[in-house]
């Protein structure tokens, strides 16, 4: 398991305190610090920046702040895929009917009245964090392949549409690369399925380590087949990733008697989806698959990709 730690405790949880008032920040930090990991900022815009860079597990949001108020910040956070899952608890002096309505409408998870009662604050925070931990764990379980620890097909089906939308909104190329272990049936036949499983685990680990950006996602799509989603990546970048991965795997020197090199190798196919053109992500996935097929037919331990002119090019690690 290397995507995320399997079990987190309340103490590992990050709470972001957002309040322009020194006194309020001092109170909340002092009361919560012994139980959770606290961070604090003094404006709504700093809070949004913080959440995008390092999403916390919970935000405690003051309402009345100069420049941008808490409601507005909460709406921005709930409309951004990077921050939409962070629960926001408002901390507000006014709990009038109108104010309560505004908090819920902005997408708030709860509210606490100011001046805060320490016990209430601590217990509300505990409640929301416990529920967040359970949701996170469930998500991790349903989206993770148990053998290799990388994402599974279910993750792909749920998250690819959002990645495509992000690519379209940002007008950035999205590349896909498919990797398949060469002569893996022969590996299993010769070494047995237990060795085969451990080999798949090693491949997944190497693939994961070859990905240098957190936004790149590794998915096990079939028995010995892996898909990598590369947002903000052009044909050139996809080619670089293919080269790096072929090298990384062959340098693991996993013994494979049926392989011409004597060691396990992989083949790869890659293609790129450009938003706002007449192609689609499905076309890119099919092209990547065709490229993989070509690399296999071309003697394996190699890759093929569709370049920016639409031509298939072949390369080796």
């Amino acid at each position: 398991m290397y995507n995320k730690k399997t079990s987190r405790t309340l103490q590992d949880c990050n709470v972001l305190i957002v309040d322009d008032q020194t006194a309020s920040r001092l109170i909340m930090t002092t009361l919560l610090e012994p139980l959770f990991t606290c961070h604090s900022v003094d404006s709504a815009s700093k809070a949004i920046e913080f959440c995008r860079e390092t999403p916390p597990d919970l935000v405690l949001m003051d309402v009345y702040m100069p420049d941008m108020d808490g409601h507005e910040a909460c709406i921005i956070l709930s409309n951004d895929s990077r921050t939409e899952d962070i629960p926001v608890v408002f901390v507000t002096a006014s709990v009038s009917d109108e104010e309560q309505e505004k908090c819920w409408n902005a997408g708030g998870a709860d509210f606490v009245q100011k001046p805060v009662n320490g016990t209430t604050l601590i217990n509300r925070v505990k409640f929301h964090l416990s529920s967040k931990l359970k949701t996170d764990l469930l998500e991790q379980l349903i989206y993770t392949d148990r053998l290799t620890g990388c994402f599974n097909r279910h993750y792909l089906e749920e998250h690819l549409p959002q990645m495509v939308k992000d690519a379209e909104r940002e007008n950035q190329a999205l590349s896909v690369a498919i990797f398949d272990a060469d002569l893996f049936k022969q590996f299993n036949d010769h070494y047995g399925h237990i060795k085969g499983d451990s080999c798949l685990w090693k491949i997944a680990k190497s693939l994961q380590e070859s990905l240098l950006r957190p936004r790149d996602k590794l998915i096990r799509v079939g028995g010995e087949e892996f898909l990598i989603l590369l947002p903000h990546t052009s044909e050139h970048g996809a080619r670089t990733v293919c080269e790096r991965i072929l090298q990384t795997i062959s340098h693991q020197y996993i013994e494979h008697s049926a392989s011409p090199t004597g060691y396990l190798t992989v083949s790869a196919g890659a293609a790129t989806y450009h938003p706002n053109t007449d192609t689609s992500i499905d076309k890119a996935l099919m092209d990547a698959d065709k490229c993989l097929y070509h690399a296999k037919a071309n003697g394996r331990n190699s890759y093929a990709f569709i370049d920016e002119h639409g031509d298939m090019l072949v390369g080796a690690g």
Partner: protein, 109 residues
């Protein structure tokens, strides 16, 4: 109408889980903010919504109910673009100095 407490330290400490160190730091912060606002008033500088809001918050945290009430009305009036009357200004000054005295008495108890 029952009179609001000038400084209900007991209630404020109860809310803070009897965290005396925290309460002392809040008192120190209050003294600084109250001093700043008084100086503003003495120099006939207009009070902003933010400075009224800040002092209202700090007063609420330390249990200065009377001042919190005065500052809440001040904040509301300023938000509604009303000009503060000289009577209101005098009331603010008085509420601040009463609270300051109560804080000093508490600190030397």
């Amino acid at each position: 109408m029952t009179e609001l407490a000038v400084l209900d330290a007991e209630q404020a400490l109860y809310r803070l889980g009897n965290h005396h160190v925290l309460y002392s730091r809040l008192l120190a912060l209050f003294e600084q903010q109250a001093g700043d606002l008084l100086a503003q008033l003495e120099n006939n500088q207009p009070i902003t919504v933010l400075s009224a809001h800040t002092l209202k918050g700090s007063a609420a945290e330390i249990g200065a109910e009377n001042l919190r009430n005065v500052m809440q009305h001040t904040e509301q009036d300023l938000k509604a673009n009303k000009t503060l009357s000289s009577q209101q200004l005098a009331q603010i000054k008085e509420a601040i100095s009463l609270t300051q005295q109560a804080v000093i008495t508490y600190q030397h108890r």
